[in-house]
Chain length 157, copies 2
Protein backbone atom coordinates (compact mmCIF):
# COMPACT_ATOMS: atom_id res chain seq x y z
CA UNK A 1 0.00 0.00 0.00
CA UNK A 2 2.72 2.44 0.89
CA UNK A 3 4.45 1.81 -2.41
CA UNK A 4 1.19 2.30 -4.32
CA UNK A 5 0.50 5.64 -2.67
CA UNK A 6 4.06 6.71 -3.31
CA UNK A 7 3.68 5.81 -6.96
CA UNK A 8 0.40 7.72 -7.24
CA UNK A 9 1.93 10.75 -5.52
CA UNK A 10 4.89 10.60 -7.85
CA UNK A 11 2.57 10.41 -10.85
CA UNK A 12 0.52 13.38 -9.65
CA UNK A 13 3.64 15.43 -9.01
CA UNK A 14 5.00 14.57 -12.43
CA UNK A 15 1.80 15.37 -14.27
CA UNK A 16 0.34 18.33 -12.44
CA UNK A 17 2.31 19.95 -9.69
CA UNK A 18 5.90 19.53 -10.72
CA UNK A 19 6.95 22.01 -13.37
CA UNK A 20 9.27 21.32 -16.24
CA UNK A 21 12.96 21.75 -15.67
CA UNK A 22 14.15 24.46 -18.01
CA UNK A 23 15.75 23.55 -21.34
CA UNK A 24 18.01 26.62 -21.09
CA UNK A 25 19.94 27.40 -17.90
CA UNK A 26 18.80 30.45 -15.94
CA UNK A 27 21.13 33.34 -16.95
CA UNK A 28 22.25 34.10 -13.40
CA UNK A 29 24.49 37.05 -14.34
CA UNK A 30 22.20 38.82 -16.76
CA UNK A 31 21.71 41.92 -14.60
CA UNK A 32 25.39 42.78 -15.18
CA UNK A 33 25.10 42.48 -18.98
CA UNK A 34 24.59 45.25 -21.50
CA UNK A 35 21.00 46.40 -21.99
CA UNK A 36 20.50 46.59 -25.73
CA UNK A 37 17.18 48.42 -25.57
CA UNK A 38 14.17 49.11 -23.37
CA UNK A 39 10.48 49.57 -24.13
CA UNK A 40 7.29 50.02 -22.14
CA UNK A 41 4.14 48.25 -23.33
CA UNK A 42 1.23 50.29 -21.97
CA UNK A 43 -2.51 49.60 -21.58
CA UNK A 44 -3.26 51.17 -24.97
CA UNK A 45 -1.21 48.53 -26.77
CA UNK A 46 -2.87 45.42 -28.16
CA UNK A 47 0.10 43.50 -26.72
CA UNK A 48 -0.72 44.67 -23.19
CA UNK A 49 -2.69 41.62 -22.06
CA UNK A 50 0.01 39.25 -23.26
CA UNK A 51 3.16 41.19 -22.45
CA UNK A 52 2.39 44.54 -20.83
CA UNK A 53 5.02 46.21 -18.69
CA UNK A 54 8.62 47.36 -18.91
CA UNK A 55 10.94 45.23 -21.04
CA UNK A 56 14.72 45.35 -20.85
CA UNK A 57 16.67 43.30 -23.39
CA UNK A 58 20.10 42.08 -22.29
CA UNK A 59 22.96 40.58 -24.29
CA UNK A 60 26.01 38.74 -23.01
CA UNK A 61 29.44 39.29 -24.63
CA UNK A 62 28.86 36.62 -27.28
CA UNK A 63 25.47 38.06 -28.17
CA UNK A 64 26.98 41.55 -28.49
CA UNK A 65 29.45 40.01 -30.94
CA UNK A 66 26.47 38.59 -32.82
CA UNK A 67 24.79 42.00 -33.00
CA UNK A 68 28.05 43.48 -34.35
CA UNK A 69 28.76 40.78 -36.94
CA UNK A 70 25.26 39.51 -37.74
CA UNK A 71 26.37 35.97 -36.80
CA UNK A 72 25.60 34.83 -33.25
CA UNK A 73 28.24 32.42 -31.90
CA UNK A 74 27.60 29.40 -29.67
CA UNK A 75 26.98 30.64 -26.13
CA UNK A 76 25.23 33.86 -27.19
CA UNK A 77 22.38 34.64 -24.80
CA UNK A 78 19.65 37.27 -25.14
CA UNK A 79 17.28 37.96 -22.25
CA UNK A 80 13.89 39.71 -22.34
CA UNK A 81 13.18 40.82 -18.77
CA UNK A 82 9.60 41.88 -18.14
CA UNK A 83 8.82 44.00 -15.08
CA UNK A 84 5.63 45.30 -13.57
CA UNK A 85 5.61 49.08 -13.15
CA UNK A 86 4.21 51.44 -10.54
CA UNK A 87 3.62 55.15 -10.83
CA UNK A 88 4.50 57.61 -8.07
CA UNK A 89 3.75 61.32 -8.63
CA UNK A 90 4.07 61.04 -12.40
CA UNK A 91 7.22 58.92 -12.31
CA UNK A 92 7.05 55.34 -13.62
CA UNK A 93 9.21 53.05 -11.49
CA UNK A 94 10.30 49.45 -11.91
CA UNK A 95 8.18 46.97 -9.94
CA UNK A 96 8.14 43.23 -9.47
CA UNK A 97 9.71 40.94 -12.04
CA UNK A 98 7.04 39.26 -14.14
CA UNK A 99 9.61 36.91 -15.60
CA UNK A 100 12.49 36.52 -18.00
CA UNK A 101 12.42 34.97 -21.46
CA UNK A 102 15.76 33.64 -22.65
CA UNK A 103 17.20 32.51 -25.96
CA UNK A 104 20.57 30.78 -26.04
CA UNK A 105 22.57 29.74 -29.10
CA UNK A 106 23.85 26.17 -29.23
CA UNK A 107 23.63 24.74 -32.77
CA UNK A 108 24.12 21.13 -31.59
CA UNK A 109 21.79 21.11 -28.61
CA UNK A 110 19.01 23.11 -30.25
CA UNK A 111 19.35 21.91 -33.83
CA UNK A 112 15.56 21.55 -34.21
CA UNK A 113 14.87 25.22 -33.48
CA UNK A 114 17.34 27.16 -35.58
CA UNK A 115 20.23 26.55 -33.20
CA UNK A 116 18.53 28.51 -30.43
CA UNK A 117 17.02 27.24 -27.19
CA UNK A 118 13.99 29.21 -26.00
CA UNK A 119 12.66 29.22 -22.45
CA UNK A 120 10.98 31.37 -19.83
CA UNK A 121 11.31 31.71 -16.07
CA UNK A 122 8.26 33.15 -14.32
CA UNK A 123 8.68 35.61 -11.46
CA UNK A 124 11.87 35.05 -9.50
CA UNK A 125 12.21 31.32 -10.09
CA UNK A 126 15.45 30.12 -11.63
CA UNK A 127 14.76 26.47 -12.32
CA UNK A 128 11.34 25.91 -13.89
CA UNK A 129 11.00 26.63 -17.58
CA UNK A 130 8.05 26.97 -19.90
CA UNK A 131 6.03 24.04 -21.18
CA UNK A 132 6.75 22.64 -24.63
CA UNK A 133 3.79 24.46 -26.17
CA UNK A 134 5.01 27.90 -25.11
CA UNK A 135 8.60 27.13 -26.12
CA UNK A 136 7.25 26.09 -29.51
CA UNK A 137 5.39 29.40 -29.82
CA UNK A 138 8.59 31.31 -29.05
CA UNK A 139 10.40 29.57 -31.88
CA UNK A 140 7.45 29.81 -34.29
CA UNK A 141 7.31 33.57 -33.84
CA UNK A 142 11.09 33.99 -34.08
CA UNK A 143 11.13 32.21 -37.47
CA UNK A 144 9.79 35.52 -38.85
CA UNK A 145 13.36 36.72 -38.33
CA UNK A 146 15.13 33.73 -39.85
CA UNK A 147 17.15 36.08 -42.07
CA UNK A 148 18.50 37.80 -38.94
CA UNK A 149 19.47 34.51 -37.22
CA UNK A 150 16.03 34.45 -35.50
CA UNK A 151 16.76 37.61 -33.48
CA UNK A 152 14.18 40.42 -33.24
CA UNK A 153 16.09 42.75 -30.96
CA UNK A 154 18.59 45.40 -32.02
CA UNK A 155 21.14 47.41 -30.11
CA UNK A 156 20.25 51.03 -29.50
CA UNK A 157 23.33 53.23 -29.97
CA UNK B 1 43.11 96.16 -37.04
CA UNK B 2 43.29 92.52 -38.03
CA UNK B 3 44.88 91.61 -34.73
CA UNK B 4 42.23 93.58 -32.83
CA UNK B 5 39.40 91.78 -34.58
CA UNK B 6 41.10 88.46 -34.00
CA UNK B 7 41.41 89.27 -30.33
CA UNK B 8 37.75 90.28 -30.10
CA UNK B 9 36.69 87.11 -31.91
CA UNK B 10 38.81 85.02 -29.58
CA UNK B 11 37.29 86.76 -26.56
CA UNK B 12 33.76 86.19 -27.86
CA UNK B 13 34.46 82.53 -28.55
CA UNK B 14 35.95 82.08 -25.10
CA UNK B 15 33.09 83.78 -23.31
CA UNK B 16 30.06 82.79 -25.28
CA UNK B 17 30.39 80.31 -28.07
CA UNK B 18 33.18 78.00 -26.99
CA UNK B 19 32.03 75.49 -24.41
CA UNK B 20 33.99 74.21 -21.48
CA UNK B 21 36.08 71.09 -21.86
CA UNK B 22 34.65 68.49 -19.53
CA UNK B 23 36.17 67.96 -16.07
CA UNK B 24 35.29 64.24 -16.26
CA UNK B 25 36.15 62.15 -19.35
CA UNK B 26 33.21 60.99 -21.45
CA UNK B 27 32.43 57.39 -20.40
CA UNK B 28 32.81 55.94 -23.88
CA UNK B 29 31.95 52.35 -22.89
CA UNK B 30 28.95 53.04 -20.68
CA UNK B 31 26.41 51.33 -22.96
CA UNK B 32 28.07 47.98 -22.17
CA UNK B 33 27.88 48.53 -18.37
CA UNK B 34 25.27 47.20 -15.98
CA UNK B 35 22.04 49.21 -15.76
CA UNK B 36 21.34 49.58 -12.06
CA UNK B 37 17.82 50.92 -12.50
CA UNK B 38 15.49 52.72 -14.91
CA UNK B 39 12.74 55.27 -14.40
CA UNK B 40 10.48 57.35 -16.62
CA UNK B 41 9.73 60.93 -15.57
CA UNK B 42 6.38 61.79 -17.17
CA UNK B 43 4.53 65.09 -17.80
CA UNK B 44 2.62 64.76 -14.50
CA UNK B 45 5.86 64.94 -12.51
CA UNK B 46 7.07 68.26 -11.13
CA UNK B 47 10.54 67.20 -12.33
CA UNK B 48 9.34 66.94 -15.92
CA UNK B 49 10.49 70.39 -17.11
CA UNK B 50 13.96 69.91 -15.65
CA UNK B 51 14.56 66.21 -16.31
CA UNK B 52 11.59 64.59 -18.05
CA UNK B 53 12.15 61.44 -20.08
CA UNK B 54 13.56 57.96 -19.66
CA UNK B 55 16.55 57.62 -17.33
CA UNK B 56 18.89 54.64 -17.28
CA UNK B 57 21.54 54.56 -14.55
CA UNK B 58 24.75 52.69 -15.40
CA UNK B 59 27.61 51.55 -13.17
CA UNK B 60 31.07 50.37 -14.19
CA UNK B 61 32.73 47.44 -12.37
CA UNK B 62 34.23 49.68 -9.69
CA UNK B 63 30.90 51.37 -9.06
CA UNK B 64 29.18 47.97 -8.74
CA UNK B 65 31.79 47.15 -6.09
CA UNK B 66 30.83 50.40 -4.37
CA UNK B 67 27.14 49.48 -4.40
CA UNK B 68 28.01 46.08 -2.90
CA UNK B 69 30.35 47.36 -0.18
CA UNK B 70 29.03 50.89 0.42
CA UNK B 71 32.50 52.27 -0.33
CA UNK B 72 33.11 53.50 -3.89
CA UNK B 73 36.74 53.01 -4.99
CA UNK B 74 38.78 55.38 -7.17
CA UNK B 75 37.66 54.94 -10.77
CA UNK B 76 34.01 54.23 -9.92
CA UNK B 77 31.73 55.84 -12.52
CA UNK B 78 27.96 56.22 -12.44
CA UNK B 79 26.08 57.51 -15.49
CA UNK B 80 22.57 58.96 -15.67
CA UNK B 81 21.50 58.68 -19.32
CA UNK B 82 18.43 60.71 -20.21
CA UNK B 83 16.51 59.85 -23.36
CA UNK B 84 13.58 61.39 -25.12
CA UNK B 85 10.70 58.96 -25.64
CA UNK B 86 8.17 58.43 -28.41
CA UNK B 87 4.94 56.50 -28.27
CA UNK B 88 3.81 54.17 -31.04
CA UNK B 89 0.46 52.35 -30.65
CA UNK B 90 0.63 52.40 -26.86
CA UNK B 91 4.29 51.36 -26.69
CA UNK B 92 6.83 53.83 -25.28
CA UNK B 93 10.10 53.62 -27.20
CA UNK B 94 13.52 55.10 -26.60
CA UNK B 95 14.18 58.26 -28.62
CA UNK B 96 17.03 60.72 -28.99
CA UNK B 97 19.63 61.05 -26.25
CA UNK B 98 19.04 64.24 -24.28
CA UNK B 99 22.39 63.84 -22.57
CA UNK B 100 24.39 61.94 -20.00
CA UNK B 101 25.30 63.11 -16.50
CA UNK B 102 28.40 61.46 -15.06
CA UNK B 103 29.95 61.18 -11.63
CA UNK B 104 33.45 59.74 -11.29
CA UNK B 105 35.32 58.98 -8.08
CA UNK B 106 38.86 60.32 -7.74
CA UNK B 107 39.57 61.50 -4.20
CA UNK B 108 42.71 63.43 -5.23
CA UNK B 109 41.45 65.14 -8.35
CA UNK B 110 38.02 66.01 -6.96
CA UNK B 111 38.91 66.61 -3.32
CA UNK B 112 36.72 69.76 -3.17
CA UNK B 113 33.53 67.90 -4.06
CA UNK B 114 33.51 64.84 -1.86
CA UNK B 115 35.99 62.95 -4.03
CA UNK B 116 33.58 62.90 -6.97
CA UNK B 117 33.79 64.78 -10.25
CA UNK B 118 30.41 65.78 -11.70
CA UNK B 119 29.79 66.67 -15.33
CA UNK B 120 27.24 66.48 -18.12
CA UNK B 121 27.43 65.90 -21.86
CA UNK B 122 24.48 67.25 -23.83
CA UNK B 123 23.06 65.26 -26.75
CA UNK B 124 25.66 63.12 -28.47
CA UNK B 125 28.69 65.30 -27.75
CA UNK B 126 31.59 63.63 -25.97
CA UNK B 127 33.89 66.56 -25.20
CA UNK B 128 32.02 69.58 -23.84
CA UNK B 129 31.00 69.46 -20.22
CA UNK B 130 28.68 71.55 -18.10
CA UNK B 131 29.54 75.04 -16.87
CA UNK B 132 30.85 75.51 -13.33
CA UNK B 133 27.45 76.63 -12.06
CA UNK B 134 25.69 73.44 -13.13
CA UNK B 135 28.53 71.24 -11.86
CA UNK B 136 28.23 73.04 -8.54
CA UNK B 137 24.49 72.33 -8.46
CA UNK B 138 25.15 68.62 -9.07
CA UNK B 139 27.44 68.45 -6.08
CA UNK B 140 25.22 70.63 -3.88
CA UNK B 141 22.28 68.28 -4.45
CA UNK B 142 24.36 65.13 -3.97
CA UNK B 143 25.52 66.36 -0.54
CA UNK B 144 22.04 65.28 0.65
CA UNK B 145 23.47 61.77 0.33
CA UNK B 146 26.79 62.41 2.05
CA UNK B 147 26.15 59.41 4.33
CA UNK B 148 25.91 57.19 1.24
CA UNK B 149 29.15 58.53 -0.32
CA UNK B 150 27.09 61.12 -2.26
CA UNK B 151 25.30 58.46 -4.30
CA UNK B 152 21.50 58.61 -4.80
CA UNK B 153 21.11 55.58 -7.03
CA UNK B 154 20.63 51.99 -5.88
CA UNK B 155 20.85 48.69 -7.68
CA UNK B 156 17.56 47.02 -8.45
CA UNK B 157 17.83 43.30 -7.85
Amino acid sequence: MVETRTLILAAVLASGFARAESTVPFPAEYRTWAVTRTLLIGPESKEFARSGGLHHYYANESALEGFRTGKFPRGAIIVDERLETREVNGVTLEGERHGVAVMMKDPEKYRDSGGWGFDRFAGDNRTDGADAELRGKCFACHTQRKDADFVFSKVRK
